[in-house]
Amino acid sequence: MRPISGAVLRPYVCPTCRHGISAGRRRFGSKSDSPDLYDVVCVGGGPAGLGLLAALRASPITSKLKVALIESQDLRKAKAWDLEPNQFSNRVSSLTPSTVSFLRSIGAYDYLDANRVQDYQDMQVWDGQTGSRISFDWSMETSPFEDMRTVATMTENANLVRALLRRIADSGDENLSLFSNATVASIENGSDLKPEGPDLSAWPVLTVKPTGPAAETETPKRIAARLLVGADGINSPVRSFADIPTQGWDYGRHGVVATLALAEPATPPFPASKRTAYQRFLPALGGPIALLPLPDNHATLVWSTTPENAAYLKSLPTPAFLAMVNAAFRLDMTDLTYMMGMQSSSSDSTSHQAELTWRAQHTPLPSQIPPPATAVQTGTVASFPLRFRHAAQYISPRIALVGDAAHVIHPLAGQGLNLGLADVASLSKTIQYAVSHGMDVGDLLTLERYSSERYLPNAKIGGACDLLHKMYNVPGEGPVAWARSLGLGFVDRLPFVKSFLMKNAEGY
């Protein structure tokens, strides 16, 4: 934890700004300047940061708090985001029902473009090595006459960010400052403004610097935070300032994403609105491949695999890429490993498809597989490294970490964004409680409610995803594969265990 003392300043200065600020501080930041005071300052304008702001603005108890948000991207652009109806961004998340109900409770869900979100009610998960399978659907919980229960709701992150920004905009601009196109040049402890002013020596004071052309004309602003929230991602500057260590490792895997168009299913779903998500573990290739439904027979691909395989997949021409995706849901490990090494060239882009067609004839196909992918949306194939991180603590005096700043987990269960928004739901409730009971929202006694509510669930789900990743990275037949199939088969046959697992996966 950072020392709170006027004498010991341990400022965080972002490396790229260090040069500018050392010259700039003398000009702008004389110690006697009193900074603008805010109740909550949130660094980072992703779904977690914006979600917190929207939640605070939505509650009558906290709507009068003076809040600020600092984001380096252009929030006006994010608010005006638009795509053709049949185009989908490749940054897609699955929202669990509890996340959806949180978004509804803060009045943000209705701002989502409903034509761009897709519920799914069934999830088929199986092991590519052993074939053992577990199907997550709610049919055993509900009668056929009821509405099907949703396992999760797919939405583009951009759609969610836009919805949250519009929700915040509709709450008015009183007591609200959005620093868009701005970075945090430095964070340091404030000073004691004796004798007239308050003692801010335990308050974080941020220097906010505009980026882009405005950087030349606008002077940096100094703002002090009663509570500074780090929603600023895996390399959180707020966490560095608070001196909170973080533990974790890189998985040595990349997630390959793409937006795909699928063929019409061979047998129409019953009931007609039922949609299914598919995930197949591929122990020989380093991780699972998942196909999650988007509207209008589109789907988003997340394929966790080694960096070499990811680079190979990204280098393939479109027909070969599609053949690899379809093969990954159909062929056995030996075939896939072979195809992953095939030479490809743009002149001979059909060789992968030919290989798949030939090999599929000799492979018994599983009963539940996704319809073949027929097209890749241009420019959507991308990859990102997979990591595990967990901050040693989420809070420090006048500091709270949420979302990726606090924890980064393996995406195989699609829980990352949900954990971040669950943090936000908990922190906003904690702030409401504090305000209505005369507590200081930045005080440790306030924040420990948040931390004790979120630390263990996040560690549990992050750990479960890590365990799954490791179990499904043991290739070949053997005790681990045997235990895996026993495990999945066991879970699939015991309704109450499965129902417990599903409830855990969907949140609380």
């Binding site: 308050p198 003692d199 801010l200 005369g438 507590m439 200081d440 006694l445």
Partner: protein, 365 residues
């Protein structure tokens, strides 16, 4: 919480009472003889002149003072109980207040903050500061919380504690602003001086300009809510009477106002909880050894009895009605509170006899 109150509190209460003795010829007449205290006497002098405080206790207290605001320190359980105080006050005010423009039924229109609070024995200011934080910066704005505070006067006879409380309050700009404007005051003084009008109170500034030459007239009661958290169980029944103490608290109240406090009952479960378990060696115990003396704890019916008597005395002559009528019509609230490790404080109606409880009484309109 009383189970966790550090030894500093008994000190401050004892200081208060010894201060009383040292500055008043007769404890029974302190209210009616305010002129006997020279107005030049400063609170610091008074506090330092209290000879009944042993050097031992002073040093013990000084050591605890630095950890008063430490969320993991000796006062942690006290901090954890603080939100419950707000909830209990809100539940009292929901039944009515002394302010004519506050009606409990007017839930449709948000109330403005109009109530003046007096916190007796504020110590390091855990409750006083938290209530001051709810005072709106704009007095005409709707009250942010159901406690409806417009001002807070917090008194404690200990110079060190008041000094520490003021220092801590400066770390919150909102509270600092209230201190600057006078809506929030920390006074190193006694309840008796407040009653005598020797200190600035919400309305005494205006009163004294009108009639500066007659300091001996009894000022009108100033406060809508008087709070007395974790004070009663530290009064030594051999040398002082809770009755006179409570009577004075009632005298500071406007008609219709609330006197609200919390303390610990003197029963077998409370003995086991507070003396055997809470003061056990680490890791079981949570309070320093010797914090409480079980024999000083007071039961709800004792508090109720003192308050009935106190209400009659506070009504003084009983011009309009008999004292017994006041006692019978007394609005009395009492609810137990239990600390569950790992969960926190919970109000549990009916658990008054187990240990900690909140109590409140409303002064007749």
């Amino acid at each position: 919480m009383a189970s966790l109150r550090p030894r500093t509190l008994p000190l401050s209460v004892r200081t208060l009472r010894s201060t009383l003795r040292s500055t008043r010829p007769s404890a029974n007449h302190f209210f009616s003889t305010p002129a006997s205290t020279p107005s030049t006497q400063t609170p610091q002098i008074r506090a330092h002149s209290t000879s009944s405080v042993s050097a031992d206790e002073l040093s013990h207290f000084s050591a605890l003072a630095s950890s008063w605001w430490d969320p993991m320190g000796h006062s942690r359980i006290l901090h954890l109980m603080n939100p419950l105080r707000h909830e209990f006050i809100a539940s009292c005010l929901a039944e009515g207040t002394s302010s004519p423009n506050q009606s409990p039924s007017s839930t449709s229109t948000p109330s403005t903050a109009t109530l003046n609070y007096l916190d007796v024995g504020c110590g390091g200011g855990i409750f006083a500061e938290s209530l001051a934080r709810t005072i709106p910066l704009d007095p005409t704005a709707p009250a942010p919380t159901p406690t409806l505070a417009a001002s807070m006067t917090a008194i404690d006879p200990s110079t060190d504690l008041i000094q520490m409380a003021r220092e801590h309050a400066r770390m919150d700009p909102t509270v600092h602003e209230h201190l600057r404007t006078g809506r929030f005051k920390y006074l190193n003084t006694t309840l008796e001086d407040v009653l005598a009008g020797n200190v600035d109170t919400p309305t005494s500034a205006a009163a004294s300009t009108q009639n500066p030459s007659s300091p001996s007239t009894q000022p009108a009661p100033q406060y809508d809510v008087v709070t007395l958290f974790e004070v009663l169980e530290h009064i030594d029944p051999k040398t002082s009477t809770p009755l006179s103490f409570l009577t004075n608290c009632l005298r500071a109240l406007k008609p219709g106002g609330w006197l609200i406090g919390s303390t610990i009952s003197r029963t077998l479960p409370s003995f086991i909880l507070n003396q055997v378990i809470a003061e056990a060696p680490w890791p079981i115990g949570v309070v320093p050894r010797g914090t409480h003396e079980w024999s000083k704890f007071v039961n709800p019916d004792e508090v109720k009895g003192w308050l009935q008597e106190g209400l009659m005395r506070a009504a003084d002559t009983g011009v309009s009605r008999g004292g017994s009528a006041i006692a019978e019509g007394m609005r009395w609230k009492c609810v137990g509170a239990i600390y569950i490790p790992g969960i926190g404080w919970k109000m549990v109606p009916g658990s008054e006899d187990w240990g900690n409880y909140f109590w409140a009484v409303r002064k007749e309109i």
